[in-house]
Structure formats: structure tokens, C-alpha cells
Symmetry: D2
Subunit: 140 residues, 4 copies
């Protein structure tokens, strides 16, 4: 499934459609094999102790699945989350970014399925894992 | 499973342990049968069009499961989310609060399971559903 | 969402499309509010100790979501499971049927979402809960 | 996390604790990096058309997560499924085994988390994915 929208164009597109989260996420890598995104953790995403909150990790997994899908179907299309299952496995390290490694497992006509592993930058064991389904409405 | 911590005390406790989200959530009802909480939607939780974002709905479901659990085990205990599966079923209505109806299905020695339905206030059909597992570490 | 296919007709239809599981499930109630189905536990669905196995409970939840969907869209349509999240919360009682209470939460053009609680017959606390998404392919 | 119970010993142990499914599963590979198991599809696991049923795929994912966990904690321990989320993404090919690739993502004191990809043997795209949590009760 070739990439139609490269990383820099995708980053601009994110800022456009989700202005509320502008600057929150970065795209480190986007190719057919893997998407790597990061959460630039700011005060509002932290819990006491300086670790990234569960909802902020959910946000990162969600936006990664969105980017993995939209990069392949194109910016003129639409995609909305229909399901996410997320496991929180370890406490993130304080003071470092959380980084998502996302793989698109399926791109059908109406659904995409993406699998995401979340890491505290520099640590080998994932802090969380998630799978997300996006619904792709028919073109208008 | 009787309620050890009433709604107003629980609300104060939330502000204490999660100062970053102070004022974000309200507790409408907390008894043995049902917990009702609401998300006071502010600009940062909205998507273009004025509807509440997926991550904000996740936050509400997550905090509701936390409150349902902590209200029964007591404030001196600890509980952390280990799993959440969430289905987004309808677009929330613009300009109204999202309200969560949460039921605790299980309270074991090490795990609790809560089921949550999310509604746009005033609409009968749920906008989302979620189930959450919290892990309860042994008392220190 | 009115019921197009009543319980007895639905039961016959199940035997037709899934001959391998003929006699495994029964429909106790099927109306707009609730679907109640049971697993007639036989030797092959039991674990040592005489309790119903996890996969057998999954089967019951899956068929209940199928019946809840097909009863509304009609037998000429098609529906396939795309996602299930299931929590096993208590050990089922030995020697009694497992009974599913299923509610359809959403019926869209391409997806249905159903929530299921599973009980050991005669016990008030659920042994498991599940949510299932079915994909409804366009009519051919 | 080193493997305490090698593949052949694990296979014998499965037959012992789950006599009802004797011969249903095979272990192709079991080491620190990956567990590969297969479902020897027989008539009762097939749907019309000769493809493996959803519940049979759930069984395979479930047993793979069990083996991945027990191989590391040892046969004298106990583990029970508490949660599974499974996505069915493609129709399995008819007439070939379904093969599971399972990775243990976390082994804690009370919980393990395993991720499983299911393939029709010989096809590169997964037919399903699942994540499973097992609860590990304290030693008696």
C-alpha cells in the first residue's frame, strides 16, 4: 500500500484539520513499512510525577492510526475512529517523549486496522499497545 | 458493593490527584447502581464543528471507571488503567456536554471492570461505549 | 429498530447457515429491547471442573451479536464480525447453561455495535461481558 | 524472559489440562522472540465454504497467549484469560491451517499481555489480530 502523502505534507494537513492540537505531535518517519510519531509532552499531558497521562497516550495512538490511513487514501478522503482497544503496560518514563510505532494491517474499502506500540523514548519495552479501526466513508 | 467515598468528597479528591484536569469533569450522581459524570467541554476538547474529540471522550470514560472503582475501595488505595476498549458510534452533538453513565461490573482483589455509555446531553442514543479494566495494586 | 425476523424463524436460519453448530444455541427472547440466547453446554465446550470454556463463551457472544443484527436487517443481508472485545470476569458455575443478554447499540449502514452480558443461569453477577462490531456489506 | 518449558513439554501439558481440545493445536516454534502455533482445522471449526470460524480463531489466539505465558512462569503456576480484543480482517483461505504468531509484550507479577497475528498458512497478510491479557493468581 504505497504512501500518497509524504510526512511533511501530512504534518501540515494535521495542523489544518486539528488546529486544537497544533504542535502536539511530530512525524519522525512515514513509509510503507512503518510510521513513527511522537508526542511532544507538555504540562497538560502530564500526571503528577511528570509521566504522560493515559488520555495523551490514547491521543497519540489515535492520531498515528489516522495518519497511517490518510497517508494511503489521500487527504481528500475522510476517516473516523470507530474502535480502539488499548493496553497500558508500564509507567512511562518521566521527562522524555512518548514515541509511537504504527503499522497498517489492513486497508479495505470501508475500514482500516492499525496496530500501535508506544515507547518512552530510549526504552526497549513498550509502555502501551493499541489497535484502532477507522471507518472510511464513501467519497462524496 | 457499597460506596465508601460520596460524590462531593470524590470530586475534591479528583482535583487533588489530577490537578491538570481540574474543572474538566463533574459528578452528577454516585451510588451503588450508577455513576453519572460529565465533561465540561472547553475549546481544547473540541474538533472543528464544535463536537467533542475522541480523546476527550476517552478521558471521560477513563475517569468515570476510576471514580467507580475508587469510590468503593477508598481513597487510600491505588488504581491504574490497564485496558480500555472504546467504540465511537455517533458524532456528538455540538455545544452540549457529553455525559457518562458508568456501571461497575466487577470488583475483585486485583482488578475492577467498568462499563460506560457516553451520551450527548439530551440525546437518547449513545455516542460511544467503553469498557475499562483497572488494576488495584496491593496496599503498601 | 424493529425486528424483521422473529425468534423461531431466526433459529431455523441459524441452523441453515451454521450447520456445524446446530443445536448449540437457543433463543429465549428476541424483541426491540433485548435478545436473550443460551449456550446448551455439551462436553466439548467444558473445561475440567465442568465449567464452560472461554471460546464457547466467545461463540455465544458472537452469535448473539449476529442474531441481534440480522433480526433487524433481514435474512437476505450479510454480516461478518470485524471486532470483539471480551472480558472474562468470573468463573462460570458448573452444570448450568450460560445465558447472554444482548443489546444492539447501533445499526448503521455499514456497521452494527452490540453489547453482551453473559450469566451463569440463576446467578446475578455476569461471568463475562463483550462488545462486538459487525460489518454489513452492501447488498449485491 | 527466558523459556522455562520447551515446546514438546508444553504440548504434553496442553493435552493434560485441556483434554477436550487434544490434537486441535500444534506448537511449531517456542523461543524468547516468538511463539508459532497452528490450528489443525477439522470439520467442527469450519464454516460453509471450508473456512475456519471466528470462534476457532479466537481459540487459537487464546491458547497461544496461554502458552506464551505459561512457558515463562512454569507449569505449576496458573493463568486465566481476563481480556481479549480481536479484529477479523480477512476471510481465511479454505483448506489450509491457520497459524498464530504470538509475542509476549509484558510479564508482570499479576498480568501478562500477548499480541497475536493469525495467518492462513502461506499467505503474507494476516487474517486476524488479537491482544490478550492473562491474570496470574498468586502461588498457593
Amino acid at each position: 500500500m504505497p504512501i500518497k502523502v509524504p510526512a511533511d505534507e501530512m504534518a501540515e494537513f494535521l495542523d489544518e484539520v486539528f488546529p486544537q492540537v497544533k504542535g502536539m505531535f511530530g512525524i519522525d518517519r512515514l513509509d510503507e513499512d512503518l510510521l513513527v510519531m511522537r508526542l511532544h509532552a507538555s504540562e497538560q499531558h502530564l500526571r503528577p510525577g511528570g509521566t504522560v497521562s493515559g488520555p495523551a497516550m490514547f491521543s497519540l495512538a489515535d492520531v498515528a492510526a489516522y495518519v497511517a490511513t490518510m497517508a494511503r487514501i489521500g487527504k481528500e478522503a475522510l476517516a473516523v475512529t470507530t474502535n480502539c482497544s488499548i493496553d497500558f503496560m508500564r509507567k512511562p518514563a518521566a521527562g522524555v517523549d512518548v514515541v509511537a510505532h504504527a503499522k497498517l494491517l489492513k486497508l479495505g474499502k470501508t475500514l482500516s486496522v492499525t496496530e500501535v506500540l508506544l515507547y518512552s523514548e530510549g526504552s526497549p519495552d513498550p509502555v502501551a499497545r493499541a489497535n484502532l479501526t477507522y471507518s472510511i466513508p464513501p467519497a462524496r
